[in-house]
Amino acid sequence: MSEPTMPAPDAASRTIAPIITVSAARIDADAVTAALSGSGTVGALVTFTGYCRDEGGRLKALELEHYPGMAEKQIAKIVQDAARRWPILGAAAIHRHGLIMPGEEIVFVACTSAHRGAAFAAASFLMDFMKTSAPFWKREHLVDGTVGGWVEAKDTDEAAADRWHRL
């Protein structure tokens, strides 16, 4: 992104208290962003929301299976990795499980920082690892009433996560 992507010099001493939630409930993005902003030190907030698509009308719902206990821990780890790499001031990472209808949100991440470069980079990093290392699995429920297959992992998602190792 626009600011350098090197680790911040004070990375070791910096800790943030992220908002991490794994739940079947709808996500209130507005409440989360309100909690992260408005402090006078935050200059930039980047959010990502991932939605369930209807896949051209074929999909009735996505079923999200997860590994309770590990899911929260792994997300917390991803957020702390991001906080070590960029000078973020706050972060949220929320992932739903269970049946999710087209148009509904599946995942929400948010990062705040003094400047936009760190917030964009950290949010993008969080999503790449939410996709590839948080223990969630998607299965399709089809409009014709059948339960479709498990969604296959994408090479492009692996590649997206791998690029951060080169920084």
Binding site: G50, L64, E65, H66, Y67, G69, M70, K73, Q74, H95, I106, V107, M127, M130, K131, T132, S133, A134, P135, F136, W137, K138, R139, W150, V151, E152, A153, D157
Partner: protein, 83 residues
């Protein structure tokens, strides 16, 4: 130790979790996957491509060379597709 299975690994095996006591020569994750694969048709179907199977010990991702000694819970699952 407790084993937990997720997604299509769970579906193919037909159970979500179980207690197992593998023989002493099963020392790594790779050994464990091979031993499980030999436990019957459902396990063979779930683990036919062990190289793509992901494993976590006590909620931490590990690679297949990881020793399993001392593990309380080992989870076995396909590549993740969240987000």
């Amino acid at each position: 130790m407790k084993l937990a299975y997720f997604a299509w690994v769970r579906e193919r095996i037909g159970i979500a979790e179980e207690e197992v006591s593998p023989p002493a020569e099963v020392t790594t994750v790779a050994d464990l996957l091979l031993w499980l694969k030999g436990r019957g048709e459902t396990f063979d179907a779930a683990l036919q491509a062990p190289e793509i199977i992901r494993v976590a010990i006590d909620h931490e991702h590990v690679d297949h060379a990881e020793p399993i000694a001392g593990a309380r819970e080992i989870a076995i699952f396909p590549p993740m597709t969240g987000g």
